[in-house]
């Protein structure tokens, strides 16, 4: 009886040892070298797995960082310069400094500025509504307000304002991962340079229609009048397809363009109030004349 137990133990242990030896050699034969720095870099990354860097997740990005010779365009927008410099420390390379970015919603078409002309009751999705028609207002470029950008955000940084029907970005939470930019079927959201005290000056409109048409549907549309382009001392503003665009890199936040705009389409945000500025309505704005 005790023999059976002994034989069993011996045979099973020898089988186990044999298997261990075979497995050891196989593991040596098929060993894949993995750079230990990948783990270290992954530790340093924010582990948000948001895809803002263009890779499927932080692990993929860490592999790409280790493999790359220079950082170049590889940048973690969530971690920013701090994370990138610690990664550079691990890998012993020069860090790339980039200005932090923030998402900006370039539409100011609140119900007062841009009255609704019809009611949409189809599937509540921006992409579907955008494929279907101009939208509840007459503006074919403006925000539709069904919140696909809000669903796309992993950081709880963008919310719909029930009063204005427009999404609002929480600057402190925004990591500039760009998920909302891709989600928006109308390309309204843009990543712009983050300035001191979250100050921003931008054209809050992307309507490329002729001035009269754009103005008919929305009070605060850019009408392409060229006034801001003329007044800008830094050549930061360009006008294409009846639409002004302020280059955030060139803009020095001097705010000269803001009072020039006849439709208040240029927004200044987080600036101290300037005194004695008349609102646009009192400036005697004329309807722009368009020619065919």
């Amino acid at each position: 009886m005790s023999n059976v137990i002994i034989y069993t133990i011996i045979s099973l242990s020898s089988l186990g040892i044999l298997a261990a030896v075979v497995l050891y050699f196989i593991a040596r034969k098929f060993y894949v070298y993995e750079d230990p720095r990948i783990d270290q870099v992954e530790e340093a990354l924010p582990a948000a797995n948001c895809g803002g860097c263009g890779f499927a997740g932080c692990r993929n990005f860490a592999e790409a960082l280790v493999k790359s010779e220079e950082f170049g365009d590889l940048y973690c927008p969530v971690g920013g310069n701090d994370v990138m410099s610690s990664v550079a420390g691990i890998l012993g390379r020069d860090s790339v400094e980039k200005d932090p970015l923030v998402a900006v919603v370039r539409c100011n078409g609140t119900p007062t500025h841009r009255p609704k002309t019809n009611v949409y009751d189809g599937a509540q999705s921006c992409t579907i509504a955008s494929n279907l028609y101009t939208g509840e207002s007459g503006c074919p470029f403006g925000c539709l307000g069904y919140g696909e950008c809000v669903d796309a955000c992993d950081f709880d940084a963008i919310h719909m304002n029930a009063e204005t029907g427009l999404p609002e970005v929480v600057d402190d939470k925004c990591t500039a991962c760009g998920a909302c930019v891709t989600a928006c079927p109308r390309n309204i959201i843009e990543l712009r340079k983050k300035n001191k005290k979250d100050r921003k000056i931008y054209v809050s409109c992307i309507n490329e229609e002729k001035g009269a048409v754009a103005r008919k549907n929305c009070d605060v549309a850019c009408i392409g009048c060229n006034k801001c382009v003329k007044v800008c001392p830094y050549d930061a503003i360009t006008l294409n397809n009846n639409l002004a665009y302020i280059d955030a890199e060139k803009c020095k936040l001097c705010r000269k363009c803001v009072p020039e705009c006849p439709t208040d389409a240029i927004l200044e945000i987080n600036f101290p109030l300037k005194k004695n500025r008349p609102p646009a309505q009192e400036k005697g704005v004329k309807e722009p004349v368009t020619d065919n």
């Binding site: 002309t117 019809n118 009751d121 189809g122 599937a123 999705s125 992409t127 579907i128 494929n131 279907l132 028609y133 101009t134 007459g138 074919p140 229609e209 002729k210 048409v213 065919n292």
Partner: protein, 443 residues
């Protein structure tokens, strides 16, 4: 005798053909018309006029820019006020020519006499040339340029010409009234098209809820062995060309194919009437019959209107806009599109104008899918709408492509039948757009 119909799926929505039997009335020319430059599927046309030009009725104002493209003619005499972007029935702003009208004065060479002209001597190429010149597109709603259909590709041969007089959309009666009033013209148009296609068999398919039209056309075509009238069992969407070919000839158009792949060319009766006018009377396509209807409309009517007339003028002619209107739909209730402005012009593809009261116009709350598979059983293309919707929601476009999302004819049967009010067609349409982009990017 058992009536024919197509095999797969189909639904029976209430017909509500309120305006049936109403004579076609001619709507007076409005003060200004807005003629969208491109009113067809295919390459956009090029504008030939500029602001301040005076145009005559029937004058070419935008020419076709490719093979799949069409001409557009001025529907009135007057002065071009502006060339502007205007919201058309597609819901988007697109370029249009706005003309302020004066007394009607036609371009030279148009035969305006009401007499019937049955004989024609033109050969095949001349006929196609005339149809191309007149800017004729499919008037059933798809607005596919007609000359393209007539140019049969090499290696394929047309055997049958099918005239589509089905008008399966509820409410609409434009084709019905046209068949009753212009029967001879339609038959002549059919003979012209048979010559252009070099076929000797023509079948006119009409659903048997229009017995008067069936009897009328049968009487007129008696003695002509080449044209036969076929009554069909009522079932939506029998007016879809693939469904009609299946119903009449029991031939199945292959996935991604056209009726010509099985030797058939399908024309709507409205387009055939336009072909008659273009070939026999030299008249370009500048007017069409539009049904203005709805339960609350005081005077439902079939109107012959100039292209570019604002929708509001049609509604006024039908007794004005009822107070409790919720939606004004261009087209029928199944496939039509709600308009977002009453200034929208009538286009070549506008078959009807449906006014829906407020309480019927709203969609009900969307509930969860209960896996009843009603959408699968009604789909005339044999698709699985509930599955396609989920795939599109999850952005699994490759799977949607494998499940033949591109075969969807957008008839809306699935959304109609769904007991949970799920917006199936909305998502399938989105899937079609996205999958179409993916397929094009592969080339």
């Amino acid at each position: 005798m058992l009536l024919k119909t197509f095999a797969k799926g189909g639904i029976h929505p209430p017909e509500h053909k309120i305006s049936s039997g109403k004579e076609i009335e001619k709507l007076p020319v409005p003060e200004t018309v807005t003629i969208p430059v491109s009113q067809h599927i295919g390459a956009p046309s090029k504008v030939l006029v500029k602001r301040g030009d005076s145009v005559k009725t029937g004058q070419l104002i935008a020419e076709s820019t490719g093979f799949v493209s069409a001409n557009t003619h001025s529907s009135v005499t007057g002065t071009v006020v502006k060339i502007d972007s205007v919201t058309d029935t597609s819901g988007y702003r697109r370029p249009a020519v706005v003309v302020k009208t004066e007394d009607d004065q036609w371009v030279d060479g148009v035969d305006l006499s009401p007499e019937l002209k049955k004989d024609f001597e033109l050969n095949k190429d001349k006929i196609i040339q005339k149809i191309l010149g007149a800017g004729i597109v499919g008037l059933g709603g798809a607005t596919f340029p007609s000359h393209v259909k007539l140019s049969v590709p090499k290696g394929k041969k047309a055997e049958y010409l099918i005239l589509n007089g089905v008008e399966c959309e509820p409410y609409l009666t434009a084709d019905h009234s046209l068949m009753l009033e212009k029967g001879e013209e339609i038959l002549t148009g059919a003979r012209i098209l048979m010559k252009a296609l070099e076929v000797d068999k023509c079948i006119i398919g009409i659903e048997n809820n229009k017995p008067d039209a069936i009897a009328h056309l049968s009487n007129l075509s008696a003695g002509d062995d080449h044209i036969s009238i076929q009554a069909l069992k009522v079932k939506y969407p029998q007016g879809g060309e693939k469904q009609l070919v299946k119903a009449l000839l029991d031939r199945s158009v292959p996935s991604g194919g056209l009726p010509i792949d099985v030797g058939v060319v399908v024309f709507n009766v409205g387009s055939v009437f336009a072909v008659y006018e273009a070939v026999q009377k030299n008249k370009p396509l500048i007017e069409r019959v539009v049904t203005v209807t709805g339960k609350s409309v005081s005077k439902p009517s079939n109107l012959r209107v100039r292209i570019g007339t604002p929708v509001s003028a049609l509604i006024d002619a039908a007794g004005g806009l009822p107070e409790d209107t919720g939606k004004v739909v261009s087209g029928g209730p199944m496939m039509g599109k709600a308009l977002n402005s009453l200034d929208t012009p009538v286009m070549k593809g506008s078959s009807g104008l449906l006014i829906i009261p407020e309480k019927e116009s709203r969609r009900d709350a969307v509930r969860a899918c209960i896996r009843c598979t009603k959408c699968v059983s009604v789909c005339p293309m044999g698709l699985e709408p509930y599955l396609l919707m989920t795939e599109v929601q999850k952005e699994k476009y490759e799977m949607a492509e494998q499940d033949r999302v591109m075969d969807c004819i957008e008839c809306g049967s699935c959304s109609y039948i769904c007991p949970s009010n799920r917006p199936l067609l909305d998502y399938i349409r989105l899937g079609k757009v996205t999958v179409g982009k993916i397929i094009r990017s592969r080339k």
